[in-house]
Symmetry: C2
DNA sequence: CTTTGTATTGAAATGCATTTCATAAAAACC
DNA sequence: GGTTTTTATGAAATGCATTTCAATACAAAG
């Protein structure tokens, strides 16, 4: 008698209950349990109740891996982030953080998991493997940085992906980003308004997004033939490195700039600090425009004039585009407007 | 003839190859392929080569869900983060970001996936379900904030978890955090050194970590009976909200504070801005100590005196403790030292 | 030449949920 | 009452890799 299969609830179970157990105890079949749990309308109301009750009292939790295996999708999106360039007292720009928060929320709503910066995504094989092995259904890449070539390859493999960064129609992938060139133009126009002629651009043009800002700045410059633009090319994103570079620049330049356009507010702060040490002050001696409009920018002394991006919608938009890609369509790239926020500098 | 099962490589496959396919083509059994792929030493060198070659040429990628199902572990850690309080132009403190970067790296090294803030973790059931359904092998919670009660419950369910935040020996879970009370004391000692008597503490004592800092401050205050401490209790983490609250405080207080201890550097910046509008300046009129030593703090004008935490090791330590928990042991909580970084304020 | 050990390899069982297809029962229609 | 639909449910096939256990082959030892 005691030999029969463990078909009663009398014994405290040693192993987690499976869907079979729930089915047996609720006196229904496995498919029915499955249907109840995934909210299918194909079950009668009281069967549903019964199953749910049993599931609860048995402390049943379905095995996500079995589910994912069978459904053939991960229900997860990998978000790729270059921590490297955002760490080490670096441009841990609140900006990226907000983007991430927006994405996290948008994915949550759709009940998708967010896999943060899985390893191995520095090669095309890494992407392909993670995708094929069903580790992630799609990718959101934050900032194409210097790895545009890699991303182009990924896109050509038909791996669902959207990228936050420079929007380039020639690109194989869908990008969402701010109108960087407009941002540059807005900065330039402000400089013109203040009659500034010796402009300094601070940032690395290796980054597509930043290059576009520079181009926007140049465009504005063309409106007045007297304007000259110099470039301080940033190598490290570390705050203190930027500070030091800016300081060195000021010491060695022949003519001091009367306008500075920095690729981020954080960088702008570094520049202000570095320049003020040499007695070169904003807004007295030069105009300054930053980028991102991070909260402290408004309260810095002096408060920083900056270019604001629409972080709020960015995350949601990225996710929305990715959903389209998952549905097999080819989402169009999108460009979000930028705005000049005028402050003391 | 064409009826035979698809056992040749002649036809381009329409479906992804499975381990069976690789085994068949390499003329070995499935277990052998499995062993090769997981680096088992139980295979001869040339079998290994052959299998790897076939796997590569077939573009084989093993199905992670099948693997996880069989192995009965997710190989993933959920990192819980309250974006809510770090968003909306809020205290997107670079600090949390650095912590996250450290964790990400430490997990990477151990080949564990990082699940960022999965939804549903605002209830005990959410935790239990994610854990039981094998969505995550363990949890790292960043900042216990106001949800300590929830975390205590989670810990009692024997769910592997470590928390960044206040270290409390009475707690059921393992916590890693800075010595907040020391941080408070250091700030207080600085105030004493500068002969400040009317101190203002800015922060919400709802948060355990912040409450400890306040207690440290009080402790220092006891060394001089003249000292009085007032508290500006922050409700919203939003930068501008803090700014406004600080401004309102200064306008209505009977005696202006000559020392301010803020719960974060970002908050400190908000205070500086708010106070300076009323002509109350640091370091002239009051001493100020912030918290976290975020990069801009050093370059703010004036540069901010602050309490530095050891962000660098924090992430790695959290992960290490969690690994211990996964191995079934009960890791001890750990407290990291804090340091006063003296600057202009 | 037999025994014992070692190195490789495979058959079969296992982990667990979803989906297709078929069937039974109940309801609706003529 | 008989037939067609609709509704509810189950049997069996499927997704795929890992692990245990047994078996074979071959070398070393006695």
């Amino acid at each position: 008698m005691a030999q029969k299969s463990s078909d009663t609830t009398t014994m405290p179970r040693t192993t987690r209950p499976t869907m079979d157990d729930v089915a047996r105890i609720a006196k229904v079949s496995k498919p029915t349990v499955s249907r109840v749990l995934s909210g299918s309308p194909l079950v009668s109301a009281d069967t549903r109740e019964r199953v749910l009750a049993v599931a609860r009292e048995q402390g049943y939790a379905l095995n996500r891996h079995a589910q994912k295996l069978r459904r053939e999708r991960a229900n997860a999106i990998a978000v790729v982030l270059d921590f490297g360039s955002h760490r080490q007292g670096a441009i841990g720009d609140p900006f990226i953080f907000e983007l991430l928060a927006g994405i996290s929320e948008a994915l949550s709503v759709r009940d998708l998991d967010l896999l943060l910066s899985p390893s191995g995504l520095d090669t095309i094989d890494g992407f392909v493997d993670l995708y094929q092995s069903r580790g992630a259904d799609g990718f959101i890449v934050l900032g194409q940085g210097a790895r545009d070539a890699l991303l182009q390859k990924v896109a050509r493999k038909d791996i669902p992906m959207v990228v936050w960064g420079a929007v380039n129609e020639a690109s194989a992938y869908c990008a969402v980003g701010s109108d960087n060139s407009l941002g540059g133009r807005l900065a330039g126009e402000r400089f013109l308004l203040h009659d500034r002629r010796r402009w300094l651009f601070v940032g690395s043009r290796q980054h597509e997004e930043i290059r576009l800002r520079f181009e926007g700045l140049q465009e504005a410059a063309r409106k007045n033939s007297d304007v000259e633009i110099d470039v301080l090319s940033i190598e490290s994103m570390a705050f203190s490195a930027i500070h030091d570079q800016a300081n060195a620049y000021l010491k060695t330049c022949t003519v001091r700039p009367d306008a500075v356009f920095a690729f981020s507010d954080t960088a702008a702060m570094a520049v202000i600090g570095a320049f003020s040490k040499e007695g070169h002050l904003t807004p007295r001696d030069y105009s300054l425009v930053g980028y991102n409009d991070i909260p402290p920018a408004a309260h810095f002394t002096p408060s920083i004039t900056t270019i604001a991006q629409q972080t709020g919608v960015a995350g949601a938009l990225l996710v929305e585009k990715l959903m389209q890609a998952l549905d097999g369509s080819r989402p169009r790239s999108a460009m979000l407007p930028t705005q000049l926020v005028t402050r003391q500098t």
